[in-house]
């Protein structure tokens, strides 16, 4: 007889993320459909009326993010999701939410850009996600899943972090991860309790008025707000860095990749090790805060970094900052919705290790 653990399910990344959000005690979802993430809205629309929470298809992405702003201000556990062009539309609202110090979850299932682009997977929104995106000096906490299981798990992590630091968190996924199916095991519903915070605008009966705004006309005040935000981001950088390493100890060349390409790199690493090339891999899990220290440490021992991304080279700049000239940082990417293959990465690895090491 076939045996099956009842809690293990086979699901698309987008569906797993939506199911996880319900189990994480989501109070409200506001969104607008766009390929390749529409399954999130579809799944929630089907499930939420039977369970708990509110789901609303807004009239646009701009409306969605402002509804998120309002609901977060009222103390709700709230999220939205979209794909690249839709996330661009949301940037003004995200900047306001960051300035107003409200927790929420924003999911970007990235597709190829720029412009309306393609519906195929990409990582072209790394800069937008990690360097601010909207106007002003702010950061999001950015988590990059690499499996359907992480599409589930990171929803819980993102809500926890967003609420701990009162700041928006983003899950930066991609079209392939959204559409593919894998096994997933869900945490119990109700395992992430949530109380309405004391700062929330819930009606001032019996207490002082709570006031949430991002408008501070006096520059002295606005500078204080900025200093406070920067302190908070430093705290996040100190406490919340996450990454995964593979075969670092004896590695001569170390691949650096986030999200699904990190798994393609794992395969390339296996192929290279079969040929006797000592390859390691670092997968940043939090893109902000970026795992600078581990990369800095590794740069003292290895001959080369090779950064693999589905873009023209964005995270590679952060890897270069971490390496700070201690070892060469190479880059290989595909763009516009094209996916890099393990064999392409192997070829690049072979090219690099065959090069004589340059003496300065």
């Amino acid at each position: 007889m076939p045996t099956q653990k009842s809690e293990i399910r086979l699901m698309k990344g987008n569906e797993a993320l939506a199911e996880a959000a319900i189990r994480a005690g989501l109070d409200a979802y506001f969104g607008y459909p766009i390929t390749p993430q529409s399954e999130v809205l579809e799944y929630l629309t089907e499930q939420i009326p039977k369970r708990h929470g509110l789901v609303l298809q807004a009239e646009s992405e701009v409306a969605s993010i402002n509804m998120v702003y309002g609901a977060a201000g009222a103390g709700a556990r709230v999220m939205t999701s979209s794909s690249s062009p839709g996330i661009s539309l949301m940037q003004e609202g995200i900047s306001y939410i960051a300035a107003a110090e409200l927790p929420c979850l924003i999911v970007n299932v990235v597709r190829g850009g720029p412009g309306l682009g393609t519906i195929q997977p990409s990582q072209g929104d790394y800069f937008q996600a990690t360097k601010g995106g909207g106007h002003g000096d702010y950061r999001l906490i950015v988590l990059a899943p690499a499996s359907v299981q992480e599409m589930c798990d990171f929803v819980f992590d993102a809500f926890k972090l967003a609420e701990k630091y009162r700041t928006p968190a983003m899950i930066l996924s991609d079209g392939a991860l959204g559409q593919m199916m894998e096994k997933v095991e869900f945490p119990e519903e109700g395992s992430l309790p949530h109380q309405v915070p004391t700062w929330a605008t819930t009606g001032k009966k019996g207490r002082e008025r709570n006031f949430i705004t991002s408008l501070h006309i006096e520059p002295e005040k606005m500078e204080m707000i900025n200093l406070h935000l920067q302190e908070k981001y430093k705290e996040i950088e100190k406490n919340e860095v996450r990454y995964e390493t593979f075969n670092i100890d004896d590695a001569e060349i170390v691949l650096v990749a986030f999200g699904l390409p990190a798994r393609i790199c794992q395969k390339a690493m296996e192929l290279a090790r079969d040929k006797g090339i000592k390859v390691g891999l670092v997968r940043p899990i939090t893109l902000f805060p970026f795992p600078k220290k581990i990369l800095s440490d590794i740069s003292k021992k290895v001959n080369n970094f090779l950064v693999i991304e589905l873009n023209a080279g964005q995270m590679v700049e952060d890897v270069m900052l971490a390496a700070n000239g201690r070892c060469p940082v190479h880059f290989k990417g595909r763009m516009g919705g094209m996916i890099i293959q393990p064999e392409d990465i192997l070829e690049e690895i072979e090219k690099i290790v065959e090069q004589p090491i340059m003496q300065e």
């Binding site: 076939p2 099956q4 519906i119 392939a176 593919m180 199916m181 393609i264 794992q266 296996e270």
Partner: protein, 187 residues
């Protein structure tokens, strides 16, 4: 024995390409194996060719995206033209007899020509040709048991289609027989 099998299934939209992969993946879960299913979801799916990569493994799967395959199940000519060269040496290639006029020419691959559409028509239900193909494939590559496929089908098919389970079972068994009775192999 196998540890990992990387399978490409490709054909026209409507031939049951994506569902064949999905059913394989569900069956793998029934046997506590690791699995991943990566569909093509682009414009080609909206009225052209469709494909999916299904991986079944006894260990954790690294990349769900690969470009070389242990097994290929090919249901139309454009897909054969595209994927024939991507089958690993000593891999298997199954192809649909009625839609593919230029047969594969690879010599280091086990090739199986299956008349799944013709058999499905004979059985009076053309939608089951993919299950006939799957039955044939599993006879050569027993990655999952037929019972697991049936259990998966029961789970995947909405209740209102459960009356179709027996005909799907017959189709799987017919596919197995096709291999037993009459297979074309070139090595």
């Amino acid at each position: 024995m196998f540890t990992t099998d990387e399978i490409i299934i490709a054909g026209f939209g409507g031939q049951g390409v994506l569902s064949m992969g999905k059913i394989l993946a569900y069956s793998a879960i029934y046997e506590n194996k690791e699995t991943s299913w990566m569909p093509s979801y682009g414009p080609e799916m909206r009225g052209g060719t469709a494909n999916c990569i299904t991986i079944i493994s006894e260990k954790k799967i690294s990349s769900p995206i690969v470009s070389k395959f242990d097994s290929a199940i090919i249901l139309n000519q454009p897909s054969l033209d595209k994927f024939e060269k991507h089958v690993k040496p000593h891999g298997v290639l199954f192809y649909e007899a009625s839609t593919i006029i230029k047969p594969p020419t690879r010599e280091n691959v086990l090739v199986y020509k299956i008349s799944a559409i013709e058999e499905a028509n004979k059985m009076g239900k053309k939608q089951i040709s993919n299950m006939i193909m799957l039955g044939a494939f599993l006879e050569i590559k027993p990655l999952v048991k037929i019972e697991s496929v049936l259990a998966a089908l029961k789970k995947v098919l909405p209740e209102r289609h459960h009356h179709l389970l027996p005909v799907n079972e017959q189709a799987l068994l017919r596919g197995k027989e096709l291999i037993e009775l009459n297979y074309h192999v070139s090595v």
